[in-house]
Amino acid sequence: MSDAAPVADRRTIRARWHWGWITPPVLLVALIGGSAIGETNIPISTVLQVLGNKLLGLDYPVGRIDAGIVWEYRLSRTVVAACCGAGLALSGVVLQALLRNALADPYLLGISAGASTGAVAVTVAGVGAGAVTLSVGAFAGAALAFVMVAALARAAGGGTGVRAAGIIVLAGIAGSQLFNAITAFIIAKSANAEQARGIMFWLMGNLSGVRWEDVEVAVPAVVLAVLTCLWHVRALDAFTFGTDSAASLGIAVRRVQVILIGIAALVTAAMVSMVGSIGFVGLVIPHAMRFAVGVRHGRLVPASALAGAVFLVASDVISRTLVPGQVLPIGVITALVGAPAFALILIRGRTTQ
């Protein structure tokens, strides 16, 4: 009995060591891979020369178009893909823990439905008359939907406990249905097929419009999310046993709920408005990581963030290279690659238990 505490401590320390050492090299490889592989064939030596010129101030002679493609298009895109993957995976971790619902994902709170409505309102219905960009419309829609869902959940009351979690889920479903219906209405009313196809392409997730300005939004959002989650790992652990247990462990239930759900919503809205709603990552990466590193959030939070980042960078590379000369929606790839992979994890998880 007296041995238990030191063993647990050592384990925690080893776990910290673990991800602290693993994360930088894995991220570096992912970023270089994302910059090196793309629609067109640029030799890896050229890619490294461009990165050397830009990052280390070296002076290799490289073609201006190659340099532009690697630095302006691919690297910025890869960084944002990594941020999106990490952000969505963390939102999934937070919502699954807080709502104690295995099916919770970042879009549960009506955010992607609201973003779709905002995007469609701008591009199809012509709100803003060409002055408002698709991203701004999507963010506004996402924010509006979340506020409505939160207000509904609050109005429906339920205080804390299982009932409150259930009410948030139900409010999210109601909000999503409402905004999906508005989207369908706008498309049916005023879009022709070509227009609807253009917007569907975006709704399925698309990273091709990403530039360095987006990095300036994505990186701070994800850093904020990671730090907030790491700060609250104990609370997240406590919530998995229910709000009552969390309260009895001295967690300020209401405050933690507001902060964490707010952060999850903010990060998701930021990502959706930049790249559309990429499915699967936020739902499945947290589950996959629970199988891999266990349910303790001290490990689950960094592991999910890293796995989400790498998964989305890899999916983006595949989406750019699977059909030569054409880019597929990344949401299609995340589901195509992710669903079988997750099925394997589920089956293996069952046999080892």
Binding site: G68, N192, Q195
Partner: protein, 340 residues
């Protein structure tokens, strides 16, 4: 009554269509094989409804504006010659019309530009629904002759488009309306313009390996643009003028990354101008601004050398305007300096 009417029309045709001496009169009932279906006409249609601007404009060009009672699916303003005539005719819808609105006008022909409006999964209705009500339909052959419309979206060209299918559509419509003289005149006029444009390009002694890309629009400015594939109207224009398309796809309007376009570095970039304002990139000014400011697109040779051609968006689809597009590109090439 009918006799008087067609006699009057015959006289009008003879007056207008003097050069086309070989033009015949149509013997009704006339059966036309059209996009996989047989359509029979007992007499020339008197009240037509059009679905698609191209079908509308071909009827106007045949001098049949007085037989059109309603139009729909517009992309651009009507050709300047027909502004007045068009103003007299009810515009049923800017985009897709509803089946009941069409049927309610009691047309004796529905002339259609795109098969997906009335095809097997037609968004207006299926051809059978019209035929069940005794309303014949005619789809412009340009949209089905060399094209597989079952692939969804804008469809896929199975063989390269050629203006022959546009001429075929003009001739068939001319036969249906018994205005074959006007049909021949229209075809001859268009063919002359086509030949002249090709001759002009040939006389320019253009450099070897001249390449181009046609940018229609983009869902968002920085996102992958819709670029013309190999086999549609732009493919035809490039083929006729001896230009290579940097986009390899056979899709009508595939999305192609700027990375691919920039890397292929086309000699000339053709940009669509349209009145549509759905996406920011529909605006030609926004397109130009993007090309000048994007860190990679601005490095393309065509942009640096100012070899940008502005073209009517409707000329990039398979219509009589394709031939005007051919002229636009040929004339633009004449103004460019390829020495650098």
């Amino acid at each position: 009554m009918k006799l008087v009417y067609s006699a009057a029309f015959l006289a009008a045709n003879l007056a207008v269509a003097a050069p086309a001496a070989h033009a015949q009169n149509t013997n009704y009932p006339l059966t036309v094989e059209n996009c996989g279906q047989s359509v029979t006409f007992d007499a020339a249609p008197q009240s037509t409804i059009t679905v698609g601007q191209s079908a509308t404009e071909i009827l106007y060009s045949l001098g049949l504006a007085d037989r059109v009672v309603g139009t729909s699916v517009w992309f651009n303003p009507v050709l300047p010659d027909y502004t007045e005539a068009n103003a007299q005719i009810e515009r049923i819808a800017d985009n897709d019309p509803s089946f009941e609105r069409l049927v309610n006008k009691n047309p004796d022909l529905v002339a259609v530009q795109y098969e997906w409006h009335v095809g097997p999964s037609g968004i207006v209705a299926t051809r059978e629904q019209f035929h069940d009500l005794g309303i014949p339909t005619y789809i412009m052959p340009a949209d089905c002759d060399t094209k597989d419309n079952t692939t969804g979206g804008d469809g896929t060209r199975i063989a390269a488009f050629s203006t022959d299918s546009v001429y075929k559509g003009i001739r068939e419509l001319a036969a249906i309306y018994d205005v074959q003289g006007a049909g021949e005149d229209l075809v001859t006029g268009l063919k002359d313009r086509e030949t002249a444009a090709i001759e002009l390009a040939r006389s320019l002694d253009l450099p070897e390996g001249l390449s181009a890309a046609f940018w229609f629009s983009s869902a968002d400015l920085e996102i992958d643009p819709y670029m013309a594939g190999q086999k549609g109207a732009p493919g035809y224009i490039m083929d006729k003028l001896g230009i290579e398309n940097v986009v390899q796809s056979d899709e009508e309007w595939p999305t192609v990354g700027w990375e691919t376009v920039a890397k292929a570095d086309p000699t000339v970039l053709v940009i669509a101008e349209m009145d549509r304002r759905r996406f920011p990139a529909d605006d030609i000014q926004k397109k130009m601004e993007f090309l000048k400011t994007d860190p990679v697109a601005s490095q393309m040779t065509a942009v640096r050398e100012g070899r940008l051609v502005v073209m009517d968006a409707h000329a990039m689809s398979v219509t009589i305007r394709t031939i005007f597009g051919l002229e636009t590109v040929a004339e633009a090439l004449a103004g460019f300096d390829f020495k650098q």
